[in-house]
């Protein structure tokens, strides 16, 4: 079928494509490179600069978990705050193992091994 010659239909089609392209998010499919590119060359106005320079956080460091990440952070709330004393033995061991791993990595970095 040849394209319709009604200019109103074309104007409506342009509106539809604008709306679709703005609303349709590809965010979950972004590569690291695309994220870096946007982070370095994305828009940053004078107004945005003012907002972040004067920014006062509305949340504390232990913010409410978002539904999207709820499953990823299933364990997070269990030991986000406070000391290790309140932790389960297994969790404590895991944290200690990670600390040791990071300390070892830092030692090797200091020696110039990495």
């Amino acid at each position: 079928m040849p394209p319709d010659k009604d200019p109103n239909r074309d104007a409506a089609a342009i509106d539809a494509l604008i709306a679709f392209n703005l609303a349709h998010s590809e965010a979950e499919n972004l590569t690291d490179e695309e994220i870096l590119e946007a982070s370095i060359n994305g828009p940053f106005s004078e107004e945005a600069r003012k907002i972040i320079l004067n920014y006062t956080p509305k949340t504390s460091a232990s913010i409410e978990r978002s539904p999207v990440h709820a499953e990823e952070t299933e364990m997070a709330g269990m030991y986000r705050e406070g000391s290790d004393e309140t932790l389960d033995k297994k969790v404590k061991e895991e944290i200690e193992r990670r600390r040791a791993e990071l300390r070892e990595r830092l030692r090797r970095k200091e020696k110039g091994d990495v």
Partner: protein
């Protein structure tokens, strides 16, 4: 030239990570401030590009929340240990933006296939639709990016109108309904004239890449 892995990496990332799994919660607190200062601008840039319809204030909230969330959850996330801090944080921020967007537009995000079908119906048998379908995938992706970049650069009022226009496209709101919608979202009541002028700007700026495509594909003089 920096490789992708080196860009936006701090020289002391391992030290920072070690602080984040410190036994003492107080040792973790300064890290939030440190990472916020280091990464607030790139996070704002990334959010501006990926969520152009949200406000700059929203972007700042999401950028800060991403930093706080990274610091708060790091101890429980073994899988973050070997990843660059910024990359994890940027993905958290983008996901927070998606959540925020869902709150204002459940229909777009939950029924994206239905809306896509409605868009397809509207563009069917138009010059615009023909040109869109004739274009290859990379051309369409490029146009989509130009539209989003233009939206991100718009003035606040135009952004409000673009947001109302996009979120309610399928409802064909009257000018009054659209102005009421903007008022509900932002607390700002635009005059009819302000609304019309902003909408004309939005259509002109965001429609330009599509009109260019029509020309390139030979559908317009």
């Amino acid at each position: 030239m920096n490789t992708p892995d080196q860009r936006l990496r701090l020289p002391d990332e391992d030290e920072i990570k070690l602080s984040l799994i410190d036994d003492d919660a107080n040792a973790r607190k300064p890290v939030v401030e440190r990472l916020w200062l280091a990464f607030r601008e790139p996070l704002m840039r990334s959010l501006g590009q990926n969520h152009p319809l949200l406000t700059l204030e929203d972007h700042a909230d999401m950028a800060y929340d991403a930093v706080a969330k990274y610091c708060g959850d790091f101890r429980s996330r073994k899988d973050w240990e070997n990843k660059p801090i910024y990359m994890v944080m940027a993905r958290i921020a983008i996901n927070l933006g998606r959540d925020r967007y869902k709150k204002v537009s459940l229909r777009w995000t939950r029924e994206v296939d239905t809306v896509a079908a409605e868009v397809a119906e509207v563009v069917a048998n138009t010059k615009c639709g023909e040109a869109w379908h004739a274009a290859d995938k990379s051309t369409r992706a490029k146009i989509s990016q130009i539209i989003r970049d233009e939206a991100a650069k718009m003035k606040p009022r135009q952004r409000q109108v673009a947001s109302a226009f996009t979120l309610n496209w399928h409802k064909e709101l009257t000018a009054k309904e659209a102005r009421d919608f903007i008022f509900e979202q932002t607390g700002e009541l635009l005059s009819l004239d302000q609304y019309k002028r902003a909408l004309a700007e939005v259509r002109s700026k965001l429609g330009a890449p599509i009109l260019q495509l029509l020309k390139d594909e030979g559908y317009a003089p």
